[in-house]
């Protein structure tokens, strides 16, 4: 499969609205093949998932533009990229058929399906489940299958939305290994993470988001040594940005600060 590389691509003042609210605001950023692994972090509701989906091409920007390097029509996701969603949806089929369907959709020739699918299942340690219904796998195995399905089509660009959320440490470690392996094989990784330790381990470059904006973007070692943005600093110090909200809620309800999802505009 020779697919045009989706890299680099550029967001220029991109914005996205959902439910009458601007949830991504004025995003200007370029993504290239290097550094290999970009990790997006930020509190819940910051817009990390939406940014990944926007870059993937799942929906158009409501304002601003995204420019891709090649001149092909990128209104829909291209075959040179793949995405693993925060909550992956596996088909109601066997494990291997899940991979084969991805290969089929991506346009691989029928003669290649079996071998490629078996190969990627071996790499992800799922060979012995090949014939098992995908949805009867454990959580961690399902996550690995989702990753296998994405890797099978040999993307040049891979989006991963919290690929280890709700996995136990062992399962998370396996997924991290697979991510490292893919990156070493030349796949550009753009992922989100809720786990700062994981970000430290994996990231070459870190993007910090807050309320729909990119607040800081820096090489990972520099970012963790001394973030420039005060919100980013508070975030990596584990303050989770509650202090901002505490100032809003304190007058109304002394305990309001502990409400996670309550994300009011300051």
């Amino acid at each position: 499969m020779i697919a045009a590389s989706p890299l680099p691509f550029h967001l220029k003042g991109a914005g996205v609205s959902r439910g009458g609210k601007q949830v991504l605001k004025d995003i200007t950023a370029s993504f290239e093949a290097n550094p290999p692994k970009t990790v997006i972090i930020g509190p819940n509701g910051a817009g990390k998932s939406l940014l990944l989906q926007l870059c993937h091409g799942l929906f158009p920007a409501d304002s601003g533009v995204i420019e891709w390097s090649s001149n092909r029509d990128f209104r829909a996701p291209s075959k040179a990229q793949a995405m693993v969603f925060q909550r992956p949806v596996l088909f109601r089929r066997s494990v291997i058929t899940n991979v084969i369907l991805a290969l089929k959709i991506a346009g691989f020739s029928k003669a290649e399906w079996r071998d490629r699918a078996a190969g990627v299942l071996r790499r992800t340690g799922l060979s012995r489940y090949a014939a098992t219904p995908a949805r009867s796998l454990s959580f961690g195995e399902q996550q690995r299958l989702a990753l296998a399905r994405a890797l099978a089509v040999e993307p040049k660009l891979l989006f991963l939305d919290e690929p280890t959320a709700s996995l136990d440490p062992a399962a998370a470690h396996l997924v991290e290994c697979l991510i490292e392996e893919a990156a070493a094989g030349g796949v550009k990784i753009i992922m989100t993470s809720h786990d700062l330790n994981q970000t430290r381990r994996l990231a070459d470059e870190t993007i910090f988001m807050h309320r729909g904006r990119i607040k800081e973007r820096a090489p990972a070692d520099r970012f963790f040594a001394s973030p420039e943005n005060d919100l980013a600093q508070a975030f990596i110090n584990g303050e989770l940005l509650w202090w901002r909200r505490r100032s809003i809620f304190s007058g109304v309800d002394g305990d309001g600060a502990s409400c996670e999802g309550m994300d009011e505009e300051v």
């Binding site: 993937h56 996701p77 793949a82 949806v89 596996l90 959709i105 991506a106 949805r135 399902q142």
Partner: protein
Amino acid sequence: MDVIWQAVLAALSMLLTLDERLMEVILLSLEVSLTALLIASLIGLPIAACLALTRFPGRKTILVLFNAMMGLPPVVVGLVVYLLLSRSGPFGVFNLLFTPTAMIIAQVVLVTPIIVSLSRESLETMRHEYHDTLRSMGAAPAQAISILVWDGRFTLATAHLAGFGRAVAEVGAVMIVGGNIDHMTRVMTTAIALEASKGDLVVALGLGIVLVALSLAVNVLVYGLRSMGEARAAS
């Protein structure tokens, strides 16, 4: 009470000996209702797919209409089809009234809304779940539809069983457009109505037992399919 027990025993023996009179009626019933189901499926599934997977103005109205049509009274459907097929009706030239074909037409009208509504619901649920994944993979519309239909096969089969159940058990429509003519258009339900009114309990009960067994079998199948679907979907 004795009379009834004797009738039940006689009916069972008629069934066990594959009584010719009974078999003729049963086979015609199955033939008419299964043909109606097949045609309703060929009409209904594309409509259901269209309603589930596309958005256009007036779609909601069509959904409500099909939902309402699921409850159409069979006699009324029979009456309308009768008028359309009668000598003075627009399709009178085809001479279809009081033939099995007329009965099939009436049952297609009864079954199609069930296939459309239930399949649409199933496909829409599937689409909602699969949409982003299929789009991310770059699935063409035809690929997407075939995946949705296959992965939704258990609920789609359930929709078809519900349609068959309605067709094979209804009496109003086939009575009016078929006329309950012996050896021609007599099916289980119309035969039961006739024999009961004549006081011949044996045949009526024999057919009644078959109908109940059929509906039981349909429900067992529905249950089986549902649990198979759930086992597949379990995560």
